[in-house]
Symmetry: C2
């Protein structure tokens, strides 16, 4: 009986330790299949874009690092942001397709997969897809000390967009 | 003669204005074909990695936003970082393949394309490719007020790596 009790006790220890290991808190991983991309047209951001549908995949909030947030943004052909500026700057990393990018006072530039752009603090600009090809980019957007990351301005007119 | 002079003057104005527009300083775009990825084994970073070759595509320096830098890092199968920590945190966005990620005291987790991880300030961890599949991830690495972004520790032993 004593031997049986010891065996049962040993098994209980093994089982509980295994359970504890499985239930141990682990650093969370945000998996793509658990995230939901957002259609801009269905949100408060709809007035900041024009020309077509835009989708956001919010990768991480400003609250992690306090200094920047990250998102994938996908523009269908002709869709683009309004003119806007960032009080703490923004990096754009194009991950798919072909798009346009323009800084106020400069000509439109074509941007493609692999391109990286630094938008300095306060520079008025817009970006979006090209006329016929969708574009996805990662944006790493700085946040100022008040947590603000963008100042939205007027829409990019068809005349301005078609200048390319 | 006067008419001819006027025509020539008009043409000169058009030509010089066109030249001025073409030569106008434009916001630079870093194009993938102009960048060179770095083999870690050929750099000062070689002691911070083990298990196989690792390549860095430095997307943007800490000097842009002052608070973070960005790079793509590609690990061939079995290649991984040493154990390390980040004084201002780091975000990992897996863009290709399958890899491993482990925080000190936790089991190894598998990470795949589309996964996003926030490594908080000072957390000891490592990441790299899986045994048979290469992995690429984008790292957005915070920089502290002294510009430091990593504290490198001991290598991940084969025993630790093979625990997965």
């Amino acid at each position: 009986m004593k031997l049986l009790s010891l065996i049962i006790l040993g098994l209980l220890i093994v089982v509980t330790q295994t359970q504890a290991k499985e239930n141990k808190t682990m650093t969370p991983i945000s998996k793509i299949e658990d995230r939901k991309s957002i259609a801009v047209s269905e949100t408060e951001y709809k007035n900041y874009f024009s020309g077509g549908e835009v989708r956001l995949d919010m990768l991480y909030p400003q609250t992690d690092a306090k200094t920047h947030g990250g998102a994938y943004v996908t523009f269908e052909p002709k869709a683009r942001t309004n003119w806007h500026a960032h009080p703490a700057g923004q990096h754009i990393i194009v991950t798919s397709g072909v798009g346009y990018f323009q800084v106020w006072g400069e000509p439109i530039q074509v941007i493609k997969t692999g391109d990286v752009i630094w938008i300095p603090i306060g520079v008025k600009h817009w970006h979006g897809a090209s006329k016929d090809i969708a574009m996805t980019h990662l944006v790493i957007t700085g946040a100022d000390t008040d947590g603000k990351n963008a100042e939205w301005l007027e829409a990019v007119s068809d005349e301005q967009y078609n200048a390319k």
